[in-house]
Symmetry: C2
Subunit: 355 residues, 2 copies
Amino acid sequence: MTDVLQTGAVIGILGGGQLGRMLSVAASRLGLKTHIFEPGANPPAADVAHMVTTASYEDEAALTAFAETVDVITYEFENIPTSALDILEKLRPIRPNRRTLAVSQDRLVEKAFLSEHGLRTAPFAAVDDEVDLAEAIAEIGTPAILKTRRFGYDGKGQARIMTPEDAEQALADMAGAPAILEGFIDFSHEVSVIGTRGADGEIACFDPGENVHRDGILRTTTVPANLTSAQRTDAVLLTAKILNTLHYIGTMGVELFVTPEGLIVNEIAPRVHNSGHWTQNGCTVDQFEQHIRAVAGWPLGDAKRHADVQMENLIGDDMDRVPHIAKETNAALHLYGKAEVKPGRKMGHVNRIKT
Amino acid sequence: MTDVLQTGAVIGILGGGQLGRMLSVAASRLGLKTHIFEPGANPPAADVAHMVTTASYEDEAALTAFAETVDVITYEFENIPTSALDILEKLRPIRPNRRTLAVSQDRLVEKAFLSEHGLRTAPFAAVDDEVDLAEAIAEIGTPAILKTRRFGYDGKGQARIMTPEDAEQALADMAGAPAILEGFIDFSHEVSVIGTRGADGEIACFDPGENVHRDGILRTTTVPANLTSAQRTDAVLLTAKILNTLHYIGTMGVELFVTPEGLIVNEIAPRVHNSGHWTQNGCTVDQFEQHIRAVAGWPLGDAKRHADVQMENLIGDDMDRVPHIAKETNAALHLYGKAEVKPGRKMGHVNRIKT
């Protein structure tokens, strides 16, 4: 890989969902091509990618052939099997790096990493069996939440423990997977910072957004977030600390709980993030292009926010509202081209610009 | 074709240049796919298209196969051979319609159409031979400009006649092609209106932009343009008149000369237009998405301008400046992925947002 990718270079993207789709579009603005690797047929990103490989992460030949056509490899989700990464990293650079993946793939490792570097998290303890769980509840108290250490997203793989009597069912819900117990945080609201670190160490963070979830799924992100200027500064500084500590290259999402005692890190996502979609219509350079710029060795773009925006996810039957949204003033639609509407499935989003 | 194209529907685009590329990206935002038909190999639009057919406009089988995979056909340039259109229109709707193409493919027909509908143009006369030319010069006077009736763009196929002595060389420059003599207009500046008419007759025009050309090629478009509010209204109304008269569906560019006596129509382009690229960073819905919305039977989007913008074309060696532009604040880059830099070749553009 040359230091700075030039027109016509190819970025390999692991994962072909909507994030890969919007990364492909961003790459095109910089004259770069993308090659999507995705096990599922007809992924959203395929509509706007230069090449698509449909193969499993266990298919060594497909992984090798994929890597050989690209200049650098990035990803749109963090749960990539280690065996696939082992093959790919011998052939091409992977950005963000594997240490970041190792940290973010496991909630326990992630929390330990954050604590170790002086960042506040919810109280937590590893839970492999009922003995661990009883000890963890004794230490952390209830209410608390038991989560699988790996592969959880959008509220999946989680069980609430309101009283110690819920413990048995919660552990059963983990289906034998290694878990982590996290104490409840008494927070007023959640915000997230989307930050990018370039290949040369330069950092640019977007203005924090305020997130509202329903049923464990992000519904809206609003900028500006309800934060004091000190909290805004804290949020950006701790994001920069995480990016620097990990020698990160690319865009990251950092979810934060706002409490009277300060900001608490909920989780980090080593990729472009749903709560950063507002940047498509609120900034000159959006989170997708920042990620591509970082991965391609380019200088980062101007992350300044030029508008107030509310991003609303379109989930499942929300698609029925698209004909009305299409007629709204100041509304920018972003649909993902998914043929089948399912409950809880992210089908698109709309950025409403407040003028 | 259903009235309104739904997620997963395919828009066929004739031509795979940068306009097709940016149309493909816009289609993806609405959940639609594109299929590019382009004789040249590896066209810019291929990087972000769902399908690409590489074939000549004389290849009937390829045209038929292309049409059968798409729901509607549009185009990114106006000089499509009539024989190809004859084949395609039997299979799928072509938007904008063929009447528009017939008008805009021939400068003489276009000028006659505009005059017929009460719109002011430069004085003009058909020139097929030296007798016609002598008569035309006698009527229109010099300086004047002789242009081929068809296939001219970016200043090609044109010869200036400063005095009657230039006539012979100018006619030779036409190489036997039917031509049109146009009188010089004493204009202060050029503006263009990018307007869209939806399938239901709804019309939305973007704020006029002010164009600066060099060597016959557009260099910059700036919004807002230097226009009185009466001129701005005139510009939009005459654009709407052209769109309605042609029963047009899609986005059109209308170039206008500003003179003390009013606006004079220079030319119309039945497609998205270089002078509308600023809308990508100045409006919630850009000219490309408006075109796709119209062609797909969707309601038009909100064309309101929310920022002052200057679009600068990156032509040939201007690409050397990209590393610097990438670091500018408020600068949005749009590169076309063209491998080879040539003098006069449009390689990309940058939209600079003025805040």
